[in-house]
């Protein structure tokens, strides 16, 4: 399961001395800086004998923070790259007025 692997990779994820909460889809805690992740697409990557042998998972990692997300984004990218994920793209710079949080999405692909 890709989510099990992702949870394992991000266990105790720390940037600039602060541990950043990490959750699937929605974070219900009280910290202002957090990361959520969600698989957006899953498709066959390799087939043989009419069966899918490898699956490609496209996963969005959403960083929410009231401050600068640059260091967090860089740490997320290097952690995922070290663990065999491939970077696809970053979303636009978003600011959410309702919560006062900056929001940056980075998308990676993993094959398993």
């Amino acid at each position: 399961m890709i989510s099990t692997e992702i949870e394992k990779i991000f266990k105790g994820f720390t940037v600039d001395g602060s541990e950043i909460p990490f959750a699937l889809r929605r974070y219900n805690g009280s910290e202002k800086t957090f990361i959520t992740y969600e698989e957006t697409v899953s498709r066959p990557a390799f087939s043989a004998d009419d069966a899918c042998i490898l699956e490609e998972h496209e996963v969005d990692f959403d960083i929410f923070t009231p401050g600068n997300y640059k260091n967090i984004l860089e740490a997320v990218k290097s952690l995922l790259t070290e663990n065999g994920f491939t970077w696809i793209e970053d979303g636009p710079d978003l600011y959410e007025e309702e919560t006062g949080l900056f929001h940056k999405t980075t998308t990676f692909v993993a094959v398993d």
Binding site: Y27, E38, L94, E96, E98
Partner: protein, 140 residues
């Protein structure tokens, strides 16, 4: 000293000349037709992402074809532009509403990607090759 002269066949020269004069027109058609294909995909995907897709659908645009001097590229963009008035009577930037649905928000909006998944690489390449075949002279 040995000397060698070669002359290119006139047919081949004409073929290359035609090819060169058509390249920019071909590239423009390739990006335009591929962008129109993506636009159709966005319009098809939008219905699953929005309860009321009409305000966003009305603001999907394919731009004019344009050249970027820095990389000598030919481009056509597909995007969501402009504003609309929502049910609460508030003026909302359409790209912001689309980004909220595409990427979700920290408050209460769930992610329902419709834009990124409209760019299907194989489909776009197929369309571009189709256009290319229309412009390139057939091989003898």
């Amino acid at each position: 000293m040995a000397k060698f002269n070669a002359e290119m066949p006139i047919d081949e020269i004409n073929r290359l000349a035609k090819l060169t004069s058509n390249v920019e027109k071909m590239m423009t058609s390739m990006t335009r037709e591929a962008a129109q294909l993506v636009e159709q995909n966005v319009r098809a995907n939008i219905t699953a992402s929005f309860d009321d897709p009409e305000p966003i659908a009305a603001r999907i645009k394919v731009t004019k074809d344009y050249k970027t001097p820095s990389d000598d590229g030919v481009n056509t963009k597909v995007g969501i532009y402009g504003y609309f008035i929502n049910k609460a009577g508030k003026l909302v930037p359409a790209p912001l509403a689309a980004a909220g649905r595409e990427y979700g928000t920290s408050k209460n909006e769930t992610k329902k990607p419709f834009f990124r998944r409209s760019f299907k690489k194989a489909q776009i390449e197929g369309k571009m090759h189709e256009v290319e075949r229309r412009y390139l002279p057939p091989d003898d």
